[in-house]
Every structure is written in structure tokens, then in C-alpha cells.
Amino acid sequence: MNLNPTTSVRVERSQDTPSSADIPRLHQLVKFILSVRRRRRSKGSGRTVLVVSAFLLLATPALADSHLPAARWANSQLPDARQEAAARALMEEIRCLVCQGQSIADSDAELAGDMRAVVRTRIAAGERPEAVRGWLVERYGAWVSYRPPVEPLSWPLWAAPLALLGLAAWLVRKRLVRRR
């Protein structure tokens, strides 16, 4: 243990500052880095990036959106809070047809907005959420709902959590026994 600060500082300095032999190498490195940067700039790659990004900003995606305003009930809540909550809960569980990993509640796609409007309109008209879900499933299949139906095809899906729990219990069975 070294409690003398002056000696320790001296030791560090002697190790960390580059020796006179190192200085040319460092100098070369700096020169190399500078030359690389100069070369890149002289080829105009910075300008190319700028031009390309400007064009990308101007470009419209192949599947563009219309420029019509959103449907009446796409982004505004129903006046009745209970109906709005029911609509909201259903929208969280309906899959967007455009961005297929999102719910229509999360998606910014226009079709998702129009589907939200359909959901809200139907619920405001007194339809039960499960009936609205059924109406959509009739058109797009069970795929459109994030709540899979219980049917022979989806039994493995529903059984999976139990099977995984069972597997985990089997894996840790020795530990459980040893701790006793």
C-alpha cells in the first residue's frame, strides 16, 4: 500500500505519458486518421449521404396513405365512458390488417383507424363487444382476434403454459428435494 501521494503520482506519470519513442507513432496515427477523413470528404460521400437522405424524405412509400381525414370515431372517444372502455378493450385485441403485429388500438394505419371507427360505431349502437369481434372474425378469420378461440386446433396453445410449468417442476425437482 502506498500512502504517499507524490510518489504514486510520479509512478503513474512515468507509465502513462508516452515516451519520446512513442511520439512519432502517435503522430503517424493522427496523420493517418486525418488523411482518411480528408479522403472521404474529397470523394463527396458526405454530400451523397445528404442528397440520398433528402430524396428519401421526399419519396412516398409504395403503399401510400390517402389524404382524407380520419373517420369520425377513429381517434375520438365515445361520450359514454363505459362504452368507450368496452370498445377500447376490444380494440386492444383486434389485429391490424396492415401492420400485422399491432392491435388496431396501437396502429397508425388508416385501415386500423377505420376499424376503430367500426368498433366504436357498433358498440355505440348497443352491440356487445363479443358480437363485434364475431363480426370481424366472420370476415377475416380467427387470425384477426388476439384472443384465440378454444377449439381442437388451439388446444396445444392453451395447454402450453401448463406443460411448461410441468416441465419446469420436473427440471427443478432435485433442488426442491435437496432443500428439505
Binding site: 409504395a62 403503399l63 401510400a64 396513405d65 390517402s66 389524404h67 382524407l68 373517420a71 369520425r72 377513429a74 390488417l97 396492415v98 400485422q100 388508416e110 385501415l111 377505420d114 376499424m115 371507427a117 367500426v118 370481424l136 372474425v137 366472420e138 370476415r139 377475416y140 378469420g141 387470425w143 384477426v144
Partner: protein
Amino acid sequence: MVIRLTRFVPLAVLLLFVGAVAWRLAVPRDDRVPSKLEGQPLPAFALPAALPARPGLASSDLAQGQPRLVNIFASWCVPCIAEAPILMALKRQGVPIDAIAIRDRPEAVAAFLARHGDPFERIGADRDSRVQIALGSSGVPETFVVDGAGIIRAQHIGPIAAADIPGLMRALEAAR
């Protein structure tokens, strides 16, 4: 023996993973969402006219004894431009085609048809995609084959290519 076999578990997992990746690379996922209404009667709808000089489209217009195509399109839809000449060719072959314009303005529809051809007899304006959703359609362009009794007989998702014409003609023939 057991220990020797468990040694290969990571390799097996890796091979499974590589296999799954290779399979999905070779057979890309089909993310089209077909309408489940094929074989079902059209849902009842009555759309206002998309153009002032052209009648709108109601489900009753599609149950007139003859099979028809219903093209779901939009002036802002780029692939719709690609299929426009094919629709014109179908019209020249005597196929009656009606259309539903999704989220569109009359002047934009008129400009689109003036530029890319106008094969449509009736055009309904679906400003908030309500009828599109009722039909189980998930995008533009899509084309439905509807028989003379107003029953959906086939659906084509995406732009119609020249290679799709024989299949569509067969579906129209079958709907007769």
C-alpha cells in the same frame, strides 16, 4: 451415455434454428389475409357515387344475373396503376367491372381514371373503408368475383397481373 447425448443438445438446438431460418427464407410467410366471405352472399351496402356522372354501387346492383368483378381501388394506391391496363383488357373481353374507391375524393378518382383508363360501370365511394371491412378486404387493390345471385365466388388480393387473367376468367365462368 446420457451425458454423451446431452452434449449434442446445443448442436441439435442450433440445427433446429438454422433449419427454421432456412425454411422461412425458402418459403416466405404469406401475409395476405383472405376474406372468409368467399361462398357467402355480399353484405348489404349502398355506397354513394364516387364520381358525379357515374352511379354509385349497392349490393343489389351486383345480383343482376350476371357474374361481375368488383375492383377495390384508390387513386392514391400505386399498385392500382400497375393493374389498370389489365382491367382495361378484361373490359375489352366483355367482363363487367364495378369498383369501390377507398378513401378518395371525386377529383382524384377522375384524374386517376383519365390517366390510367376507366374500365368501371359503377363506382361507389367508401370514404371510411366501412364497406371494405364488411367485405373482409384488407387492402387495395383487391378484386372480388361476384356471381349473378350476389354471392362472392372468388377474391384476388393485390394487383392483377397478366398471368392472373386466365384464373379470373375461369372464376367468372364458374360463377355463371
